[in-house]
Structures are given as C-alpha cells and as structure tokens.
Symmetry: C2
Subunit: 325 residues, 2 copies
Amino acid sequence: MGVDLLFLGTSSGTPTRARNVTGLALLEETGKGWRLVDCGEATQHQVLRTPLSLHELRAIFITHVHGDHCYGLPGLLASAGMQGKQEPLEIIAPDGIEEWVRTTLRLTRTWLSFELNFHAAECLGEWRGDNLRVEAFALSHRVPCYGYSFTEARPDPRLDIDKLDRHGIPRGPLWGQLARGIDVQHEGRTLRSDDYLILTRPPQRMVVGGDNDRPELLAEACRTAQVLVHEATYTQAVANDARAAFGHSTAAAVATFAQSAGIANLVLTHFSARYQADPKRGLSIEAIRDEAAALYEGRLFLAEDFARFRLNWDGALRRVCTSNQ
Amino acid sequence: MGVDLLFLGTSSGTPTRARNVTGLALLEETGKGWRLVDCGEATQHQVLRTPLSLHELRAIFITHVHGDHCYGLPGLLASAGMQGKQEPLEIIAPDGIEEWVRTTLRLTRTWLSFELNFHAAECLGEWRGDNLRVEAFALSHRVPCYGYSFTEARPDPRLDIDKLDRHGIPRGPLWGQLARGIDVQHEGRTLRSDDYLILTRPPQRMVVGGDNDRPELLAEACRTAQVLVHEATYTQAVANDARAAFGHSTAAAVATFAQSAGIANLVLTHFSARYQADPKRGLSIEAIRDEAAALYEGRLFLAEDFARFRLNWDGALRRVCTSNQ
C-alpha cells in the first residue's frame, strides 16, 4: 500500500529517556496523509522530531484506555487546533475515550478548529479511510483492548476496459475518475469505481496489536497479513513473576504465534523499562530478540523510537534510513 | 529558604524542539522534597532528565486549566503510582482540575498507590507545606488563573532561650523539638514552636505567576519578594496584533511592573514559539530580553528548559551550573 510504519513510542507503562510510551504512525510513502495508532503522552513532542505534520493527520486509532496509550491525545488535539488544522479528524477508540476527550476539552476550555468524529472500536465493521480498509479485533487485556488491521483497498488497480466497453461507458473523463477510485454519475446511474477496477496483486495488509496476553486472538486478522506489530513486554523469565506479566505477552508467546500463523514479518514493541540497550542499566533488550528468534523463522525486528519500516512489493519489511530526529 | 528554581518547560501553548510547555520545580537545595508549579504535557519526561524523583514530589500547584499548564498531570501521577510512590501528594489548583484528574483516572482505569489531596486555589488562605508558606493570588487571564508566593516559614531560626526559661520549660528533648519546628505537649498544654523561635533574618520569598495580562495584580504578593517569575509571551510589537496578546503579558509590561515594584530579580518565561534561539528560524528570543532590559534595572533572566537558579543570602538570584540532562 506504500504505507510506512514510523514508531513514535516503544516503551510500556512509563517513558524512559530512550523510549516514549506507545505511538505508531502509518504514513503513505508518497507523503500526504497519515494515521496514528495509540497516542501516549508526548506523542506530539515525538512528531516534532519527524517530517509528520498534524495538518495531515487523518485518523487516530486507540487500542485501549490505559494512560500510556492515550494521555497524549488532548495535547496533540490542542496543538493541531492552535496550528489551525481544518480537516476533520477521525478517532476510532473503545468505550471511554470519547467521554474522556470531550470532558477534557470542556473542563480545560479548549476549542478545536476542526471536527472530531468518533467511531466505536466495539462495532467498527469494515471502516474505510482513503485507500485503506480497517478492521478492529478484540484482544485480551485487563481492560477492553483492540488490535487493528490495515489493508490496501485497491492495490495497483487497472481499469477493466472490456467491462467498460460492454456497459457502453464512453471513454473520457469518466474513465479517469473511475481509475482514480471515484464513483461517478452516468445517465442517471451511479457507477462504482470498485466495479470497474481489476486488482493486479493481493493487497498489502498489516496488523497492529494492542496490549494483549493472547496473541492467537489475532489469527484471523493475520491470515492474509504480511506484517504483525505486537507488544512483547517481557521475556518468559521475567513474566514468571505473574504480577508483572498480567495482561501482557512475552517475546516467546508472540514469536510462537507468528511462526504458527506463517507471518513473514514480525515487529516487537512496548518493552518493559527494565530492558535497556545498555545492559549495565538493566536487563539487555537483546534478551527479547534472542527469545523470539529461537521460535520464529521470519523477519524479526525490535522497534525503536523513530525507527521507520517499509513493506516492499516482495513482501519483505525493511528498515528505512531516516535522518530527521 | 535554600530553594532552587529548576525550569522544566518554558514555551507557551505548544512545545517546541527546544522548550517544553510550562513546568517549574522548586526544590530544596539540600535535596529532599520538591514542589512543582504547573505540569504541562511531558513534564514527567523532563523530570527524567533531572535529579528529581517523583517519590520526593510533595505538592503540585496549578495556575489554571489550560492544557499547556496541566495535561502532564495524569501521566505524571500514573508513573509515580507505577513507581510505588507512598507519600500523599497535595494538589493546589483552581476549579476544574480536581474533577478532570479524578474523571481521567476513573475513565482510564488508573489506580494510584498514594493519596491525592486537593486544595482549592480560590480559597487557599495561607497554606503551609514543610518550611514554606504559600499564598495564591488571582490574576487576569482568559480563564481563572492564580500566581503563588513561596515564603520561608522559619528563616534560620534560633530558640528564644530567655522565653523558654521564663515559661519554665525544662531544657532537654522538648527544646530540641521546638528548635526543629515541632509543636510539643508539656504539662497538658501545647507549646507552639513558632512561639519560641526567633527569626534571624527576613524570610526569602519568591512569586511565581501564571498566565496574566495585568502584572500589577501581583503588587501585594511582590511587596517583600526577592524574585518574580512571570510570563512574557510576546514583545510589544507582536502583541500589537491584539488577538495574539489576549490574556498575556509583554516583556515591556512585566519589566515596567517589576521596576516599579522594586523586585531585585526577574525571571521571564512562557515564550511564544515564534521566538527562537536561532533567529533564522523566527524572531530572536533576544528581542524579549532587550525589551525588558530597557525598562528594568534589576537582575534579569530569561528561563530555559533545565536552567536552575538559586537565591543567595545576599538577595541575588544566580544561575547554577548543572550537568544532568
């Protein structure tokens, strides 16, 4: 779909000096328009260190109500308002988020220059945003939590010329609009673009989980997906301290699921602050990688703040070099 | 009072890459215990780059409900809870903040390991925290807004030995407790420490304003203060665009007030993002300094994130070198 993943926060629970709390941007390779999955505190601060603009933010998907996944929402909305954002913003979130955001804006006397349109994750169905189809999948956590799949709506479409001719639709501007995905009026009827497009390859599909202690709940979501982004808060050794692991997945559990589901690319994120790049300051983050790599044969990545990934047409996810921080 | 000022955020409205939104730590030189004035988003992230610990945070003073002064509260509280903070936290704030914080914690299913005690800024009276007396002063802004004065309760006290002898209070542990500021029971009566202490010098006093377009409202608060911290969001030239200046002060207005009030030390903060250290990226922050310096003859400082200031016994505020970021 030409959508890149740009991680804005990869720490669980609390920020560290190296990792912010959760936020993940999905942005079109071509630039315009991006979506955000989760919006932990200081996500807007992270955005300042990327090429992203709040003017171009189209939709925010929240996985669950815990603060490390949503406390950045009011500030990001307020800043977008102060910048004069005009386009409406879609917010897809579970119960509680709309009430919290609207209460916050009211009590803090914050007026936005753009519309907020909320959509309940609980009954999202198939939600369409530009060239993406989005579905929500219920997960298992301490509170209701959802993962989201992002699928290309029209992968490299070409016009079905035979069909257009058969239906007597004249060559010209109409064809151009249909080719660009626009439904048109012709002789009193609506012609749907989708009916005249032939898809030339299978759609790209990425699944982004929320906090979740049962990765297998994403089996159906992952069936035709090339990429799974999933939390791996702990290694198995740490998770055996049951209190810490409650509601979360280990690297081993996610890797085992991804292997059995045959997913080509797995990105782990949402790491406990006890895992550090410098093992002198805690456990080594490499323990997460080692645990997953022993059980998963696909392409394995550990997310870092500002890491950007691109799904190539060959189905391989690759890290993109960036120099914007 | 041996209290340092450590600025955590010095930008108005939205964060920039160089300045976070408002937050100011007042910390005892000796280490233990600190207070926070305002808590913009990502204040907890700033704290990570200082020697401050959330365990030692005693009180938070909020000037007003606008998001750039309070959106960091829920995340900071949640992180303090995850770190197992035990001591109660006092929150002094105007109407709306308690309702917002409690609603937020409820809707985001956040449980804290410590008590929150809210105190209304509107009727604070003289509030006592450890060795500080705090008063609130109503300001003029688009919403109800308060400045706070912080005054040493007992500057370098020594025991009034003559009085103790006159009142027949026996030498020993009782004297020690009274000397340390502790009220004691003696022969069925309460002896108040304050009644037996002689202060050896005038108390140190700092006034911290909130957003405010009438600095003169702080005249009474500043009467015996050595330090005023006040917003100077704009220069006069920019403020002449009336919309931008609404509810805020210019460097000129604050400097004029500080000069007439005879305040020895003035720290300006809360700068519009249009003022930049590198003038190629906007207006120069030096324009703020120049405008104030032309009207104010005391010691003038422009706050920066992580700048730390100490009020010396000679009444001069000085910047302290730090290397913790």
